[in-house]
Assembly symmetry: C2
Homo-oligomer: 372 residues x 2
């Protein structure tokens, strides 16, 4: 773990750069807004910890009413349970006995769920859970349009649910129905159409389970781009949103409900960088690049500065175009809004929480790098 | 730091995934080949530690004749010096007193160099070096075509060199002349042309320094894509190559000297991943995604498997197209060649070195995340 880039009470200018900044006012509003939405629509909120990788943030979400967390990796589940989270769903498949043992070991301290899309995964998880004397909740992941993991809706889902229900150490709880590629479709209408298709798959599977006499307590899924659609569908009863706490350029680019940009949530996550070179009137170079921000969704936006545009990143440099011809000073700080928040967070060890211009929180990103 | 994903002696199938694998035979050949080139052409080799971020690898390069290391960040320099490297050049500008103090503190144990492109940087470094009672070697970075940092060649370079030479605590050593954007140009001819332009800028600056009576001992630069051009130019006398030890898809895609692909070095770096879901005859999903591999240069190649093609990554999933219609088994391992090696390395805490199918080395990536 790298050194803490600030001390509590520091002014923004005193923070060592690059640093991952959280605007605590905006963050708090985002946390509350999603919690309120879930409460108002009678659905459970299980925020995705793959976004934040931090028990400190998980506990805040839970304090606002979230039922627990979901995550993608056993290493993330370990960080969450050790950090005090009592209900964790691994929204992913496991095929390794080593990983399943680590997960089973957590089930003595917390409610643990896991997704399945093949009988071999069920057999292995059942054997390990039995061996550890624990119970793991099993969800059948169904393919709802993103063509990644998941069994076909309907009969195949019922077959796997039956297998889970009949496997010692496992308990069938419901369906994992997440449509990842729907999240960033350009318009709200496009997203409604995609989730409409996913809803057909969910309905088909729920009906088939009912016919087979298998109780399906949970239908879980949704992301920040589509939460309001699943949340009002009457089909999903649990939301797995992650990015809403931070927002990023990739979400700010899509269309909102009434036209215009998607602005249900505020940008609260920034990479603070320092101008280290100003070679001429056309460009300035800052000390944050590919190793401080994920770049596969394009360059970051420069927060609150219409005179600066980020036009490229190399490993440890960001190139800013000077749009007004006015040169920033060497040492000047800029706040960059990352293209994609989740992999950006995974590059840092610390959140530096800022309120009214001062550092108020230092949260370790405990599950940074926890990919196994 | 995350847990070690393997033990010495493990077979490849026993390594926990995702893991960053080094094929030690290929790695050793790459290290030797660049060292031999430098020796044969009478230039110094100062490999770039921003690629590997590991003193263990730095010491191997030095054992093969490298004069030291260069790096981009003070945090990397700290890891190198603490790991036993005696000569480190920060090939970058610093404008923060805090960072300069950390760098000056290293200069009691090692020869430390730093690049400059503005008088304010020189004044600050001089004050801190004096304060610490140390000497820092100063290089003037000149703009040679990539339009990032650097002063204009010629008179401006001389002015800054004079300032460094006259600043207590600093010693003018020479020129930093690195053309980053030339490295991945499509053909060797394109790269020759770009480095030809850079050579004009170097020559102009070297001549102007000579005329001003300022000794210019070092002209340093070059990367893996152009090392043979600078190395045979008679102008550069130090090479800063980094990626050659690992290679990646981005380098494998460019053209080589005699036509065909650039194959001066071998792929030695891989992300080992496990097949976790095979929903149908068209695709398989592995457990490594954006958080295990940098994606801004596109998808990884699947090593040694013409039947599999990686067509996409999400946070923790890689999607493989099954080109033969034959399904891989759940739990099967695949080796992925990353699109871009440097930011991929920065996602991991451990190199798992493999030879003859067994784990032979576990090297910590000590400067992982060292961005300040």
């Amino acid at each position: 773990m790298t050194a803490v880039p600030a001390r509590i009470g520091d002014a923004i200018d005193e923070i060592d750069t690059p640093a991952l900044i959280v605007d605590l006012d905006a963050f708090d509003r985002n946390v509350r807004k999603m919690a309120d939405f879930a409460r108002q629509h009678g659905v459970r909120l299980r925020p995705h910890a793959k976004t934040h990788k931090s028990p400190a943030i998980a506990l805040k979400q839970i304090a606002h009413g979230a039922v627990g967390q979901c995550c993608q990796k056993v290493g993330e589940a370990e960080a969450l349970v050790r950090g005090g989270v009592k209900d964790v769903l691994v929204s992913n498949q496991l095929v390794s006995e080593k990983k399943l043992r680590r997960l089973a070991a957590l089930a003595t301290d917390a409610t643990i769920g896991l997704c399945f899309d093949a009988p071999e995964q069920v057999a292995l998880a059942s054997r390990v859970a039995k061996d550890f004397g624990v119970q793991i909740d099993g969800l059948v992941e169904i393919e709802v349009g993103m063509q990644r993991c998941g069994v076909e809706p309907g009969a195949a889902a019922v077959d796997l649910a039956k297998l889970i229900a009949n496997s010692p150490g496992l308990r069938f709880r419901g369906l994992q129905a997440y449509h990842g590629t729907a999240q960033h479709l350009a318009t709200h209408g496009d997203r409604e159409q995609a989730i409409g298709g996913a809803a057909d798959s969910v309905r088909k599977s729920v009906d088939a389970l009912k016919l087979a006499g298998i109780p399906c307590e949970v239908v879980t899924g949704a992301g920040t781009g589509t939460y309001s659609i699943e949340g009002q569908s009457g089909l999903w009863n649990e939301l797995q949103t992650g990015s809403y706490i931070f927002m990023d350029v990739d979400y700010a680019r899509i269309g909102g409900r009434g036209g215009g940009r998607f602005n249900d949530f505020e940008h609260s996550l920034f990479v603070l960088a320092t101008v280290m070179s100003v070679p001429n009137d056309e460009r300035a170079i800052v000390d944050a690049g590919l190793k401080s921000m994920s770049f596969e969704k394009g360059p970051p936006w420069v927060h609150g500065r219409s005179d600066l545009e980020c036009v490229g990143l190399s490993d440890e440099h960001g190139k800013l175009k000077l749009k007004s011809g006015k040169r920033p000073k060497l040492g000047e700080k800029v706040m960059l809004i990352p293209g994609h928040c989740d992999p950006t967070v995974n590059l840092h060890d610390w959140y530096v929480g800022v309120r009214r211009g001062r550092v108020e929180a230092l949260w370790p990103i405990t599950a940074r790098g926890a990919a196994t």
